[in-house]
Symmetry: C2
DNA sequence: TTGAAAGCGCTAACAT
DNA sequence: ATGTTAGCGCTTTCAA
């Protein structure tokens, strides 16, 4: 032990933590000794005493997918700042597994838990009466008392619609995922609202609900253009769908954005950037969402718990599929919209 | 405390852990009481005493990307089995951050550390003289003593070449990423070996090294077909490149697989499945790689440390881009090759 | 200004 | 078959 600096164990503790009144010389001696011995205070013992471990559990409802990852990273980032470590628990949608992980986390005395995972509907609370605060990220608890942090799908849809209106499009269609997904409906509503403010209606007369796939994008684009050949813009509920649409447009001889402008949703880098042309898309700011969830959890741990649903603003990432002016080489992308508060 | 079951604290401990000799009735009483009170033994105290925390750190050299994620999941899976919890540390390629995280992990008394992250070249060891074992996953330490677990890129390339030969192709080209990536070179070598065994040489005469992008795939496909119009198969170093190639082939009127068969690398689901036609591709089994790394770490913790480089076998995932017989509807995918031992 | 001692929750050895 | 005690490594009184 660092007490080989010739001081008592209590004094060493004070020196290391800057507590108590010590002679500067003593303090220096202890620090030097600790450094020389590569001493690291035992966080286990510390936590045991403090009754607080400075760790949190990160639990995925569904498995970690493309959407949970940025959330995860954001949360880890925000927590790491505050010197809080993260336990990773991949539940894989198995309730029994979830229960097991929950017990483990509690036995490790985590200070709080973040539950994440894309869900169609609000999920049952992870457990009632947990001794630590819980925040739901990208998923929502059925219990309205619980704190859930969600992307602002409606706002994102609005941004897309607004943008297409702003660049002068008049026949704007919308192709998206299954209607049973709340996010499909919300994105559609947002877009419809933006159009309505410009006295426009959806080209083709209705939202084309379908699947989250490129294939559906191609198929739906074909049917939309048949129904409404003068369509000059399409907003898609995902970047994948948008890619399918872009392929169909190109293969049927329409130019993007000149003939038809295109906006996607997700700002999924590989998809958006390798689209031809690169895709303008709504970025739901999932990493920021993760950070917000983490900060909310920290606040709850400190006692300032509120509960309810909190939403993180999206922003628009403009690339060439909507910017006729930008030639392929002018392609520095621009970001509009407010970052989340 | 559960001692409200009317027994001493020591007895309770024995009952809960199944140690010592207790009357069945006593044991039952304690368990009932513990259950009623929702008692969870404090892992912090336990670890403090045991000198072993049953936790490990998972440290990303680069940030978590598409490639680290499966590794991460595999590791978490294998460790969770053994009741070992995982601390997530996203280093983001920042050496100072790495150092900070390392100190934190050590202060938390992790039993071991997994370092992961795609790298072009072997990386410097995370630190010499760590008090706990370290395993490198998907990245390699410069120190040959350290244990590194890597995908078998050469074997994967071999599988691809072998498959194309097996379906009767004779003019097989290879388009891949930058030559400075060891994995590009290894995949190429594997394929070349397989061709050589059938007395074939690469169509076009050489490997087309370039970038990991769809754009490069399109470009390189054009140049390969110009140089060698009779090319009847192309093996690509990534699924993204393969998609670009597929697009080019379709747009220049060549049928896949009838005219040109196509094999990718990564088995990146979205890419491979939304390719037209769905892409046969080499699966490097990254999740299994994560599991192997975790098991090696556990072994090292138990004392059975070996060191050196361990490799995880790839396997081939056949879809329609190489199976002329399978119509679009017969598309149940088939997996060949051995899973990693 | 420093040292000694108690105690965080637990387990293992020893005592009863 | 059960209870008692020491001690894991630390911080925090309190005493010197």
């Amino acid at each position: 032990m660092a007490q080989r600096a010739g001081v008592s164990i209590g004094t060493a503790s004070k020196a290391l933590n800057g507590r108590g009144n010590l002679r500067a010389e003593t303090r220096a001696r202890v620090l030097r000794a600790a450094d020389a011995l590569g001493f690291e205070p035992n966080a286990l013992a510390r936590s045991l005493l403090a009754g607080r471990s400075f760790t949190v559990g990160l639990l995925t409802a569904d498995s970690f997918g493309r959407f949970s990852i940025p959330v995860l990273l954001g949360a880890e980032d925000a927590l790491g700042e505050g010197r809080v470590s993260v336990f990773l628990c991949d539940v894989r949608g198995d309730p029994e597994r979830e229960h097991r992980y929950l017990r483990t986390l509690l036995s490790r005395r985590v200070d709080g838990i973040i539950v994440t995972g894309r869900r169609v509907d609000p999920r049952p609370p992870v457990s009632k009466d947990l001794p630590v605060p819980v925040v739901y990220a990208m998923t929502q608890s059925e219990d309205r008392q619980d704190l859930s942090v969600l992307p602002d799908d409606e706002g994102g849809g609005y941004l897309a619609g607004e943008h297409l209106v702003a660049i002068g499009r008049l026949k704007i269609g919308h192709i998206t995922g299954p209607e049973r997904f709340a996010c499909s409906r919300r994105r559609a509503n947002g877009a419809i609202t933006a159009l309505a403010e410009a006295d426009l209606q959806l080209a083709g007369g209705e939202v084309l609900f379908g699947e989250w796939s490129e294939g559906w994008g191609r198929e739906a684009a074909a049917s939309l253009l048949e129904r409404e050949p003068a369509t000059d813009a399409i907003f898609c509920g995902s970047d994948q769908i948008a890619r399918g649409v872009a392929d169909h447009l190109r293969e049927t001889g329409r130019r993007v954005p000149d003939d038809v402008a295109l906006v996607g949703f997700d700002n999924w880098d590989v998809m958006a950037e390798s689209c031809r042309p690169p895709l303008s898309t709504v970025d739901p700011n999932l990493t920021e969402l993760g950070r917000v969830a983490a900060r909310e959890l920290l606040a709850a741990i400190e006692g300032g718990s509120t509960g309810g649903v909190r939403t993180v603003a999206a922003n628009l990432c403009v690339r060439q599929s909507t910017s006729a002016l930008a030639g392929p080489l002018a392609g520095a992308e621009t970001s509009l919209g407010l970052p989340a508060g």
